[in-house]
Amino acid sequence: MTARIGVVTFPGTLDDRDTQRAIGIAGAEAVPLWHRDKDLKQVDAVVLPGGFSYGDYLRAGAISRFSPVMGSIVEQANAGMPVLGICNGFQVLCEAHLLPGAMLRNTGLHFVCRDQKLRVETAATAWTADYAAGEEISIPLKNIDGRYTADERTLDDLEAEGRVVFRYRDVNPNGSLRDIAGISNAAGNVVGLMPHPEHAVEPLIGTGRTDGLAFFTSVIKKLVSA
């Protein structure tokens, strides 16, 4: 079978077409999903791509979380469907309370676009199985509201439960607490991160590395073997 992975477009989503292309390169079928539709078209997994949904006005992700498609996604995510939130998608997942914490303005107050080194802290999620825990990867990062914040207890719980999935290496670009770049839910099917794996899937494009491809191959293997 070919895995079918949905890619949601909210008003102001930017990286939906890139994410669809990355899913195709990884060997799955990308299925466009529209924010106004409750119907998830029977996809096996969903990616909430990056961008500035609703202009990031009010708070990043704050308006999108109320869209019809999110109702269905929350339901399916709680039932175990793999969901990946990238950048603005991560912000939406936090606003929708699928993941704990919130994102604040970068400590440097500027938009930051760079090739960012990350350490994969756990391979025990639907989206990181093809990495090895402790592996270092480099993928593009680009945000202005990327400073991950949660209360101390939540952070301690995330660490204790192995739910910190990625940590920034060398440079913490936005002041995220404990250098956190990405986290998962307790079940490991919902993952959110600020950097952009979909921009690191072709040798010639972007940073010239393909370190992001394993996100998509991880979930495809899981879906195909399930």
Binding site: P11, G51, F52, D56, Y57, H110, K142
Partner: protein, 749 residues
Amino acid sequence: MTLDTVKHAAETPESGQPWKELGLKEDEYARIREILGRRPTGAELAMYSVMWSEHCSYKSSKVHLKQFGEKAPQTDALLVGIGENAGVVDVGQGYAVTFKIESHNHPSYIEPYQGAATGVGGIVRDILAMGARPVAVMDPLRFGAADHPDTKRVLPGVVAGVGGYGNCLGLPNIGGEVVFDPCYQGNPLVNALCVGVMKHEDIHLAQASGAGNKVILYGARTGGDGIGGVSVLASETFDSTGPSRRPAVQVGDPFQEKLLIECTLEIFREQLVAGIQDLGGAGLSCATSELASAGSGGMRVELDTVPLRDATLSPEEILMSESQERMCAIVEPDKVDRFLEICEKWDVIATVIGEVTEGSRLEIFWHGEQIVDVPPRSVAHEGPTYHRPYARPDWQDTLQADDAGRLPRPADSAELRAQVLTLVGSPNQASKSWVTDQYDRFVQGNTVLAQPEDSGVVRIDADTDLGVALATDGNGRYAKLDPYTGAQLALAEAYRNVAATGAKPLAVSDCLNFGSPEDPAVMWQFAEATRGLADGCLALGTPVTGGNVSLYNQTGDAAIHPTPVVAVLGVIDDVNRRTPMAFGEQGQLILLLGETREEFGGSAWSQVVHDHLGGMPPAVDLEREKLLAEILISGSRDGMIDAAHDLSDGGLIQAVTESCLRGGHGARLVVPDGLDAFTFLFSESAGRAIVAVPRSEELRFTDMCGARGLPVTRIGVIDGDAVEVQGEFAIPLAELGAVHEGTIPGLLA
């Protein structure tokens, strides 16, 4: 206040009108009365005044700009030429590319963030209106002295505005420039370029034809933004008479623009429009008159149907408003429902505001009463033409006689080394990553090369790997010394930058930034620069496809350096063959292409070390530029060169330093016979580039250069972790990197 209808105007011919306050000259007002056979209504006066302003009518510049058409080289590549929103170029495989560069200088001085943001928004809508999906932006920026306090206000605001708007639209920012010079103090230059891609059959034009077709205004509601902005803000010299005279600032809403882009592209895909125009300067006045003027027939508009943000706006103000993120489409009646449906899908407000008529007049009504009845061509395309006097200024000879070759040169190797560090750490030559890291260069997933590479390269077809390359360049110091040569140097550099990445240069867009046209010296600079650019484009075979003129960039009597900024577009058949600038592999040979002469006039060295501007700029040889480009393209296509970097401001040492730092490898250089170390390192002779060649390819490459008559000199090898000039000095990469990377953050962070 009673409504000034057409009928009322005809009945009250002697009623006084504020034509002077609106920026019209007495003879212009008289001509409007002659065209209409009566006095204009208030709404008509508003339209004429704004459309006949310098910014919209190009009245001072168009006698010179027409050379771009008259001297245009013969080319099959040009699908749409000057006069439309943007030119369109055939890049093969059924694809067409449209690109244009524009200025948003004065607004960016007043409110840097919003000025720059709306500059990006405006040029993106121009590209969209041609039928293309915008795929990348670039921003050539010029500011006052790097250490001037006001630069700290203007630059961060402009950069945040460019990023804030462009990032939110999902357009990769792939190049541009950041230049500092005291001449731009109070007159920063914020130029913005956008490039878009479409299939040939998708080209759309701004014309209203077909009686009965509907006129649909869609996008943001109309508010009081920038009312009179076009004539007041963009055309008159800005002086500091206090905040009260400042016109309303336009605020950009990039989220609305992103919706407008996706909505418009979906409308294009379903072939729902017969003509389309974006709303920029002069808002509805411009869009309705240009659409009607370019089409067959007339147009009738019910102005009271325009959705407003501010219900108190008068009809004149609605016509003049420059509210952003609006478009105007001409749609056949049976397609209107589907058009509105797509707008609803994207949460975009759309309103039928009128229709194309059988007649030949543009007629505008306000609650049933006629307030405009004009021949649209007289508004849009038949504005005044000035033949402004121009004269070579007295000081030009003195300036050119002040030869930079006579400046004291470094006395020994230690001083030479120190000057190299001064140069690569000077604000103009330093790394601009503090600026460009605030722009998203990865979005859309097609960026092959981005700044600081010689040109930005984006893939336009993921199946065939077809791509386009773009570079913008301009050097006001060269142009001040000799505007004709300076314009050609800007063209030559952008052309060379495109070729250095392996792409074939095809076409040109230009943004001509000058002082007041009322000063004959400035007008002479303008005349010389346009003549130089037109001659240069003819020689290189790259037509000017469109662009923009920005005049009145001066404070008091002090004009900016004449600053023609030139954008060159090229095509690369296979982006896998692109040539980066980084020295990537130890042991490869570094070859210098072209000839090095003692040319220091206007050079970065003369500025940084001696704060000097005088003499003649480097000589231009356009045949040589063509040959160099052919060699660079062939070398890339045949896999002979692994890195290339053009030589321009800062000379060879600047280019070597950049290629070394980018690749993380050092270089050992040998001064060639017949040259002294100083000239070798700092000369800014044009028509040169450095390339890195694997040893196995050296003979094949030098044979090719020899056979075609391009001088090639082996100047060193990629090696170690320092830049070493044998017999002179060695500077560790870490030391070069620290000064090169540290300068801009040190000044601005």
